[in-house]
Amino acid sequence: MATYELNVNGQRKQVNVDPTTPLLWVLREELKLTGTKYGCGISACGACTVHVAGIATRSCVVPVSLIGDRPIVTIEGIGNDPVGRAVQDAWVEKDVVQCGYCQSGQIMSAVALLKTTARPTDANIEQSLGGNLCRCGTYVRIREAIKRASGQLT
């Protein structure tokens, strides 16, 4: 067990955990931030996506010991960011979700895309979201929502 001080959604949080624990489980079980989801545990589905130092990161494979002082933003905090808010609003406007389990990760990946590419093309969207799995099949609506968010932001 080791103690880590994490910067999560702008707040300093101290946790005492096994150093090999993936960030995902630290967020979910120690900090009770359950919006970030467990879908596969091997970074193949994207449901666990958070931002670490601004980079979309698959928290299920990153041990908490490798985070350091890099700031973490989760789905619970992304709404404080104008791009995050626009994406969430677009998701609701376009009635994207079905079961919703993958959508935290989809949104976090979409925000990362829009932060670097204000007007993504179909190809941009497909490349950046191409590693996020949705078994309910909401991809077409995700594409539309990203374009809508882009339109609202630019």
């Binding site: 090999t20 091997i42 970074s43 990161t57 494979v61 990153v62 990946s109 979409a110 895309l113």
Partner: protein, 225 residues
């Protein structure tokens, strides 16, 4: 058949066949004497270390050893010709549609750094190293069907300074010796199932030594295309 060596234009190439044979015989005798003298005067390993007169043959042998490492999975999986990396000893396409991106670091939302950190994450089975990214397309060692390129093709690619970020022989040696992602291949970490990833066919020390011999021979490439 003419040997087309761009680095060391062999005197054997240029003479007519008969003269060729005479020259060859003379040269052999001279070389044998010289070699004997060399052997007598450079008996110690330390002395050999400073010896830069590697023959082309020795250089080619060393190159094959280097080639065997470059085309082993831990190295070649990131030297692809496509817009995706490979993974595993079976060199399958990397899962989750991970792609190259403009700088070999993936794309926004799906970067290499989205999963690969500065060090291996053995508890989750994800390899890591400093600045994890794909080798540029100029350093592709496979074709578009994911088949490894031939020894001569890889040799030419990595010795072409217009493709290899202007690395000369010593530069290549340093790259093999010091570059973090190169060194990673010998500490590749555990897979998700807990087993260790397989290592390249030579140790890192052997790899560096072979590279040195190859560089000392003037980085010769094998014949052919």
């Amino acid at each position: 058949m003419l040997l087309r060596s761009r680095r060391t234009g062999s005197v054997f190439d240029q003479a007519a066949p008969n003269a060729n044979r005479i020259l060859r015989s003379v040269t052999v005798i001279l070389v044998a004497c010289g070699a004997g003298l060399l052997l007598m005067s450079f008996a110690s390993p330390q002395a050999r270390h400073g010896d830069r007169a590697r023959t082309r043959t020795e250089g080619l042998v060393a190159w094959q050893q280097v080639y065997s490492v470059l085309t082993s999975p831990r190295c070649i999986n990131c030297h692809t010709a496509t817009n995706y990396p490979q993974q595993g000893d079976d060199r399958r396409r990397h899962f989750a549609n991970v792609i190259r991106g403009p700088e070999g670091k993936g794309v926004a939302g799906l970067n290499c750094a989205s999963c690969h950190q500065e060090t291996n994450a053995d508890s989750t089975g994800v390899p890591g190293g400093h600045n994890w990214h794909l080798a540029p397309l100029s350093m592709r060692w496979q074709d578009l069907n994911d088949e490894p390129l031939s020894s001569v093709a890889v040799c030419r690619a990595i010795t072409d300074q217009s493709k290899n970020h202007h690395l000369d022989g010593p530069g290549l040696l340093k790259h093999h010796e010091d570059e973090a992602l190169v060194r990673w291949a010998w500490q590749p970490g555990r897979r998700p199932d807990g087993t260790m990833r397989t290592l390249p066919p030579l140790t890192h020390e052997e790899f560096v030594a072979a590279t040195r011999r190859w560089v000392e021979a003037g980085t010769p490439c094998p014949p052919g295309r």
